[in-house]
């Protein structure tokens, strides 16, 4: 039996869509088979995941709360990945953004009007996230360091630094000895619209801005050219170092805004685990959306449903939430695997090659 792998020349749009849908369906079937093997009823589990993430107003709100940080972080990652700058430091950039927002919240006078306070916090978050991304960016631009390792390591520095603040200088004396940072005052907490903090509005605005930025502006175009070929960028007179730095300032800044939202609306203070893994999950969602900001919105909602549904089944069915992690993994596997079938097709020769010998 010999199977031939053949490169496709071109693929019609409808076929591409079919392959992608097939991939998602197959991943669900495959996940179902795994669940069966564990002695669980896949229909019940899937039903519970959907029910748990969209079955009631409260559950939908919970899902949105998860989708917001995931979405904004993914947008930040898209900007970096489009340039083939592998920013896996979103986790640290979120943490530093939260730190920046918290510093502002704790140091500005308490009686400040909320819009001014929140605006300053958001700016603080953006700047700190951007600084955390700027460090690996400038090293990459000037010395050609490897950004993957660099950004990854920066995560741990950020998290440990916040832990230090929590136990040390920023420890709240009124927390009865617990290593906690003081809670924000009311004017430093994001208000709600339609029952959810306005982070979701910020997220939607970010989607629109990043979509326009990447497809309609000169800088977005330059980022895409640098990502495609540094040589071509040089040829076209693009200042590559500048593009790298600007793209990373935006990438890190967006992550910083996530830190601000999480600190202000969710935790109402700063904790070391503020990023909660969104920085890594967002890498997956950014890829799955093929670095398109609009697609990313839908991918992030779907993933937020999986995460929310996962914690629901843990409570309601007593099934480990790892199940939803497993489903996420399987989806990723199939969708990325489908890329192969978009590029190549398999051919099974009907009759074996005539052997003359």
């Amino acid at each position: 039996m010999n199977v031939k792998i053949i490169k496709r020349k071109d693929i019609p749009k409808h076929k591409e869509v079919i392959i992608r849908i097939m991939a998602v369906l197959l991943s669900i079937v495959f996940a179902g088979v795994i669940l069966l093997a564990f002695g669980l009823n896949p229909l019940k589990i899937f039903g519970a995941i959907i029910d748990g993430s969209a079955g009631s107003e409260i559950r939908i709100k919970q899902t949105v709360l998860r989708a917001v940080p995931l979405l904004i972080t993914s947008l930040g990652i898209i900007v970096a990945f489009k340039m083939k700058f592998w920013n896996i430091g979103a986790e640290g950039q979120i943490t530093m953004g939260a730190l920046g927002a918290t510093w502002v919240a704790l140091n500005l006078p308490e009686g400040l009007p909320a819009p001014f306070m929140l605006g300053s916090m958001m700016l603080g978050g953006f700047i700190c996230g951007a600084i955390w991304a700027f460090i690996p960016a400038i090293f990459k631009a000037k010395m050609g360091t490897n950004e993957t390792i660099f950004t990854l390591m920066m995560n741990y520095i950020a998290i440990k630094f916040v832990t230090y603040l929590q136990y040390g200088p920023w420890r709240d004396p009124g927390a009865q000895g617990f290593p906690k940072i003081a809670k924000f005052t009311e004017n430093a907490i994001l208000p709600s619209v339609l029952g959810v903090n306005i982070g979701w509005i910020i997220a939607l605005i970010c989607v629109a801005i990043i979509y326009v930025f990447m497809t309609r502006t000169k800088k977005g175009y330059e980022i895409a050219v640098v990502g495609e070929s540094v040589q071509t960028a040089r040829y076209a007179g693009i200042n590559i170092s500048r593009v790298i730095v600007i793209a990373m300032l935006i990438s890190g800044g967006l992550c910083g805004i996530v830190g601000f939202i999480q600190a202000s609306a969710i935790e109402k203070t700063l904790i070391a685990g503020i990023a909660g893994g969104y920085g890594f999950t967002a890498i997956i969602t950014a890829w799955l959306s093929r670095l398109n900001a609009i697609t990313c919105l839908f991918v992030c909602i779907a993933f937020a449903m999986l995460i929310q549904g996962g914690s629901y089944i843990q409570v309601s069915l007593g099934v480990s939430s790892a199940i939803s992690g497993l489903v996420q993994g399987v989806i990723l596997f199939f969708v990325l695997g489908s890329e192969f079938f978009l590029q190549y097709r398999l051919e099974f020769p009907k009759k074996p090659v005539k052997e003359v010998a």
Binding site: I6, K9, T217, K218, S229, Q231, Y235, A236, P349, V353
Partner: protein, 508 residues
């Protein structure tokens, strides 16, 4: 003389996806014969030979070596049958000596009998007239020596059937002469030799018979003596082609570009360009000749502002532009077009469509922060129409186009900016005959319009036909500037290997 069949390939078919690279190809090569395999890029020559050397397996058809049917499942099988392929890109280990390269990968005893090895190498050298120093390191060798070593390598393995893929592409005319002598020696010793080429002059000079491939099919085999070049071209292209390049001496030349003692250093401190001075005027095409990697790339990139110069000045219409980046050059409104050697790697963005590739040179001068694509859409349509670019639409990613059409997009964009100076590095490399001549015509059009064209080429025949003057580079130094009407290929060849003119009074 009775000659035995060394290679017999029958109805060979090989497909890569939708594309049939080879379809029902038949090829016979006799012992003691030089057989040329002729065809344009993509005609299937290399694919066919890769099946003979065991790199690919045919989908259909059969191969006989010395009358025996064979099925090769790996290159090792092919070597065992006495077939040796010499690839276009040499496969040698730079830091080893010739001798070490020869025995690399060969079954040896634990200790290598150096005397025995030297004796065998010497023996082969004498027999085939291969001139080689067994103890010379590869990195110290010239391209010609490396090729000799490659040939030695396959002969040492006992090859009686040699396949040479574009062997003369990197050689100077003198080296080609020496190389043909070696080929003839091997032929006399009864070797069967297949030369893959698209250079017609060489086919006529060296081969006994010639098989022409076109679009994966064999068009026919002819005895070389019985055909002429126009006939071969017709077989290759499928129609009669006018292969004349018109050259007019144009009046009213004004100097545009002048290089004054430009020196460019490579990463390891050597001089890639050494004190190069030249002038380029309007209404002329200045050719740059030289063996590969003699500084051509650095020359083009230095002018375009892509490479740092360590010494010298570059004047564009009297203004010194040394040290200016491509961005500065665009901003200053200096109209210079550059067709780099690596089209998709440098000149274009492969995954983007034609419109966005037109944008590449346009957007810097647009006001504001937004990208305005509108004017570029119009431009793209105009260029596609004017240069007759074959593309499904102007929104097709350029990497999906054929080589000739990719080059037309690049050239079209550069011409569209109304350059005063157009720098072109190997603009016809990889293109078929029709597209190549289209490009020559376009360059001539630019010349007529008053543009100064710098043409870095590899085919001396074309350089001599197309250019008004030819500057020859060797190891980054200018060894001479000649008038094609008053010189010979051999003369240029000598300059390419470093013998300067001067006393003879031929320099410009």
């Amino acid at each position: 003389m009775e000659q035995n069949l060394a290679i017999e390939m029958r109805n060979i078919t090989k497909a890569f996806g939708e594309i049939k690279a080879n379809e029902d190809i038949n090829l016979d090569v006799l012992e003691g014969e030089v057989h040329a395999l002729l065809g344009e890029n993509g005609a299937g020559k290399t694919t066919l030979m890769n099946m003979l050397s065991g790199i690919y397996k045919p989908d259909g058809g059969s191969i006989f070596i010395n009358g025996e049917p064979v099925i090769f499942s790996s290159p090792a099988d092919s070597i065992k049958m006495g077939i040796g392929m010499i690839h276009q890109h040499f496969k040698l280990v730079d830091v080893m000596t010739a001798k070490e390269n020869i025995i690399l990968g060969q079954p040896t005893k634990f200790f290598i009998n150096k005397k025995e090895l030297s004796r065998k190498v010497k023996d082969l050298s004498d027999r085939y007239g291969l001139d080689i120093d067994p103890d010379k390191k590869v990195y110290e060798m010239s391209v010609g020596e490396k090729q000799t070593l490659e040939i030695m390598k396959v002969l040492y393995r006992g090859a009686k059937i040699l396949i040479l893929d574009e062997p003369t592409a990197v050689l100077t005319p003198q080296e080609i002469k020496r190389f043909f002598k070696v080929i003839n020696n091997m032929k006399e010793q009864g070797c069967a030799i297949v030369i893959i080429t698209h250079k017609l002059n060489e086919v006529m000079e060296i081969s006994d018979r010639v098989t022409v491939l076109r679009k994966g099919k064999s068009i026919g085999t002819a005895i070389t003596k019985e055909v002429d070049i126009p006939k071969l071209i017709e077989m290759m292209v499928g129609q009669k082609v006018d292969l004349s390049i018109k050259k007019e001496k144009l009046k009213g030349q004004t100097p545009l570009l002048a290089l004054d003692q430009i020196t460019v250093k490579t990463g390891d401190g050597k001089n890639a360009l050494d004190d190069v001075s030249l002038t380029l005027a309007s209404h002329e095409i200045l050719g740059i000749a030289g063996v590969a990697n003699s500084g051509q790339k650095e020359l083009c990139e230095a002018i375009a502002g892509l490479t740092k110069t360590s010494k010298g000045r570059i004047f564009f219409e009297g203004e010194n532009i040394v040290g200016k980046s491509p961005r500065d050059i665009i901003r200053l409104g200096i109209r210079m077009g550059f067709i780099p050697e690596d089209r998709l790697g440098m000149g274009l963005v492969g995954s983007m469509d034609i419109v966005h590739n037109i944008v590449l040179k346009d957007y810097q001068n647009q006001p504001g922060i937004m990208l305005r694509r509108g004017p570029c859409v119009t431009k793209a349509e105009k260029i596609v129409k004017k240069l007759d670019i074959q593309t499904p639409s102007i929104y097709t990613p350029v990497k999906k186009l054929s080589g000739g059409n990719i080059q037309k997009v690049l050239l079209g964009r550069e011409i569209d900016s109304n350059p005063k100076v157009l720098i072109t590095a190997y603009p016809v490399r990889g293109l078929d005959i029709g597209s190549s001549y289209k490009i020559y015509d376009l360059l001539n059009e630019q010349k007529a319009a008053g543009v100064g064209v710098l043409f870095v080429g590899e085919d001396l025949d074309v350089l001599m036909e197309l250019c008004d003057r030819i500057l020859v580079l060797c190891h980054g130094e200018v060894t001479g500037t000649v008038d094609p009407n008053e010189t010979t290929k051999e003369e240029i060849g000598l300059l390419m290997t470093g013998r300067k003119t001067g006393e003879e009074g031929e320099t410009a």
